[in-house]
Point group: D2
């Protein structure tokens, strides 16, 4: 049994960690922190935790609703850090010193280059020395490195959806450098802090684009897609020309990326068909438990409440463009589920442990 | 490992059974039927089943997405019957003859009196002889009988919510015979067959009452509340005077019953306080894994995706009325989760097996 | 042309006033106030006002999106006060002194008895002297008094829905003093200030009851129902025994009250039928432009975006209870539409002017 | 006063016509048809019509809820045809022969080339001779022609949103031929006929792309964007290379197009800035009452229930792409509101008559 702490437990990613960990056979939550709620019991914040039951094969639940929220995390085997950026990096330094493995759900260790971080996050990186050893926690790409790491940078939700969608095409040299990603996300991605944007009466029956001046997940997507292209032997000459426009739709969970790129001809001047690309994608992800190539445009709801990602590539024959649609639950494969996937690897457990649930449908 | 079949697999209760069973350690779905889809593979109907993974400790998933839908159920240890009423009873007869245990999710075996059934369902009962041996599958009331039964009548969603809310008050003789139950349900309770009432553009942003002339769950509630009062030594003289008005609100899942009844004075002419009643309720359900007495009005969302029920009793001091609010997920504790709870009992397994998940929040 | 000011223009009731007044032929908005937004232009707060167009027969729009928000209301013929209680009464005093007619959307002048006000609002009434002259602005009841008033207390949303539902039954002596009102409201009733309760991810897919300890609309309902019974020659002996439980459902607009009361026998020991009661209700409201007795349970959506109220009474023959269901748009007939209805009367204009729109469906 | 008939009155576009016409000062609905509902009264289908009131300055409402639905349209000045394609063209022929002006809300007369129509709609055009005289009813483009026409092809919802977004850029030669339009629409666009796709429990909390093989609004967009470019003196060499991917989000109304195109350098090798483009757009639409260039990404909700369209162009400086976001209410400016705008022009009335309402917010 491994002990874990959850830092900033009053967030949605923390709540989702609690739900998932409660059914995990090998983790025990022994410490929870949260500045605004110090001294309160967990069930005071989340009354739905009254209902914890032990997972199969265990006597006690993995989460104790009577656990008291503290200011500082106790000594545990691993910590999930759900703090905002900057604060996360600062805490990570001290946790690592105490020998605690860290899965950081913030953006602090996702960008390899501290100057890119500073450009997008508008402050100096609090722990640039750790950028070397931090592993980008997209398990489908870096699972071997994660196994031996002590600090994992859990990817963002837009990023995970987009990279999984385009990685095969970039790795296979199927498309050129002109890429547009149009993303639709549910509202829980905006977090648990009330604001007018996420006020029910504003957000219900509304769709709109945001971050048109540049969304912080963009450099993360560029970094990883260029890396996967390079690794596949098809480096992007001149760099990726990515436009990324996220949208909000009136739903709690779910994220869907529709990606557009120009198909490249092969050495015989031939363009691939939808079937060939789908088959290539299927092969690329053949051993992935959480990535599924499907035969029709996927629905975000299929993934609701699960760690799964559904991907559908198709060729637009009129324009020779590749369209790839990818979707998942932003709070799970896009955050807390992926964090547990990383924690499993960090702790030498089976990668899918505690994450095998299907989407809650309808 | 027990084999099970799901009859009428294209329904929402069946889809929810598939999701829950997929994580159940001891059941294996080996047969699925569905008239409109005979010959199709399960994943042809529900593409989200692509994502099945084995539950903890198993090599293969409990649900095979490639399973072919047949007309007749194969020989299995147990069958979940998700047919409409009348059709369900007819099939149950033959299943029982083949030695297959039956959890019937229809209304056919819920009412003990065939003439009451005929009054409400407007046709002769197809198998009145079975009414004797059928057990009403509200585990909190009848779990001992379920253990040795072969046919279980799985309660309705409004019924489960209402009975769990009022059973302690009736058993304890706390309230009189005048009862009003005002229920709010999500739309999935209406099933998977498209109709104008459940058409998104009609149902979104809309609340309304329905079945004002009398909802079929009403006699079921009366039967069980009178029985629990009788069993508690406080029979309802003259019978329960119940008004039950269900409403639909624009949400997929969730059901919430707000119950009103007149408080009775005790032998000293004293009326109980909210605290006394809450304590009595807590004691009444002290050993129930799925029923939780809470300290503030519960939210349907707390139960979303789980088998849990949350109950909040409070006294209206101005009028000496008891108000009890109860909520759960209509497709789980109100249908498929409770069906698995019954199946566990029928098969000698721990009652909570495969059902320990928390609500998916937010 | 009458000039009007809107006080606390950053609220939802103010936004709805702006929308409705923009199509009103005889009002011109010349002053808007709002502490948090002083100095900003109206369109800076509500960009959707870019789209104002003149109403039929006018050259300029009634609302100017470039109007600058001030701290104090300018001199106008009438003011709509959208402030919270207490603040509203204080301002009303000074507005009336300046000769400005006031439609107060707060609760400050709804209760005739200052001590009842203090019991429910937990502070001394700021202007008890005005309680004498203030008219309760339920036009269906008090339109003649409103015509000659200078201060109108615009009723609450739960209140309007409930009183319109039960007024005929109370006036006609059809029911006894035991009344239960179970209300379901959309979320916009909670206002525009962000909070966790109205955070999209919390409120979506959720239903729950609130204010179980007593909602402030309750004494207002009691006061008016007792008054209508008295006026109808059927005073409620011993006072109304009202239990009122409001619920929130996941929708922006709409409020629906389901009311339960015991039918009284007439002098011949006879109970009325549904048809008789419906006919009595139809007669009672025969000249009302905004109240409609319908033949089946009404949907909140029918009223969405309109000033209409739909009412459906039916007898529960099993228990001899009257059930009355009533619904409307909480922001219009339950707030801003009714405020304009009152303003029309105060200004000698046709009562329906600017309010004839149908519900926006689907 | 002009008389109008509405053909296929049981559709959502017809319901929206009824709502809007009810407040129109110069139209009177005297005939409604609908095969499935012949002999029924209008209020039997739409009970919300109980609430009709006369518009300002009129004695009787423009819509009579007691109007009986017939099989054939009566003689009127104008007919709104809400039939599916093919059926619409057939009826239009006979209506025009009877001297009735026609606003056709179907796709039958939108494409100028009968062979393109046959390619996309998979059947022979029923009235190719009328294609010459039919006018494409995008008033912002063709209002002069509409004034003298007898048959107007009312544009589709995706089309209106997209063309209004890109017309200035194409007319001004600002962008090249590579265009991607990513559209998000509400569910009412799918009509009133129940189906699993629009079943509440399926559609709620779900986003997905559809018509990936090619949506029928695409050739319409291409035809009109190429025409506007040509008319602006910047013909698209080689034709537009358009990829159009529509998505469905869980909301009843609202459509939002996010359009991507490559910026062209001017004769001095300079690229335009966001400010320059916004100013050019503002000038282009300076006299349009329903098209508004806004300063931040628009929300579909701003347009909810109104005939307005909000547009936001911005340059992606990293990639030299133009992004234009455009949104409106799919049932109004995308269907019935635009139909009335056309009917106004056809009948010599002010174009904005009956359409000046603001969006219903929140």
């Amino acid at each position: 049994m491994r002990t874990v702490s959850i830092v900033n437990v009053t967030s949605y990613t923390a709540l989702e960690l609690l739900r998932l960990l409660n059914q995990h056979p090998k983790f025990l939550v022994t410490s929870v922190t949260g500045r605004s709620a110090v001294g309160k019991r967990l069930e005071g914040i989340f009354p739905q935790l009254h209902a914890v039951l032990p997972p199969p094969g265990r006597e006690v639940p993995a989460v104790d609703p009577a656990l008291v929220i503290t200011e500082e995390p106790a000594q545990t085997d691993l910590a999930f850090v759900c703090l905002p950026h900057a604060a996360a990096a600062e805490l990570a330094v001290s946790l690592l010193k105490r020998g605690i493995k860290v899965v950081d759900l913030s953006a602090d260790f996702r960008l390899r280059d501290a100057s890119v971080y500073e450009e997008w996050y508008k402050h100096k990186h609090p722990a640039p020395a750790l950028l070397e050893t931090a592993v980008y926690g997209l398990c489908e790409r870096y699972r071997e490195r994660v196994r031996t790491a002590s600090l994992v940078a859990n990817p963002g939700c837009h990023t995970t959806t987009s990279i999984l969608a385009l990685a095969p095409a970039m790795a296979g040299g199927i498309v050129g450098p002109n890429v547009i990603i149009n993303s639709i996300t549910g509202i829980s991605g905006g977090g648990r802090t009330p604001s007018l944007s996420y006020h029910y009466s504003e957000a219900n029956e509304d769709a709109h684009a945001y971050s048109l001046e540049g969304h912080r997940h963009m450099p993360e997507i560029v970094q990883e897609l260029e890396a996967v292209a390079e690794a596949g032997g098809h480096p992007v000459k001149g760099g990726l020309r990515l436009t990324f426009v996220p949208h909000i739709a009136p739903m709690t969970r779910g994220i869907l990326a529709t990606c557009y790129a120009d198909l490249l001809e092969d050495e015989h001047g031939r363009l691939p068909t939808s079937e060939e690309i789908r088959s290539f994608y299927r092969q690329y992800y053949v051993n992935e438990p959480f990535v599924h190539i499907v035969e029709r445009p996927p629905h975000t709801k299929w993934a609701y409440g699960s760690n799964h990602c559904f991907i559908y590539p198709i060729v637009d024959g009129r324009t020779n463009r590749l369209i790839v649609i990818s979707c998942l639950d932003n709070l799970i494969k896009g955050a807390s589920g992926q964090a547990i996937q990383n924690a499993n690897l960090l702790c030498g457990l089976p990668e899918t442990m505690g994450l095998a649930g299907l989407g809650v449908n309808p």
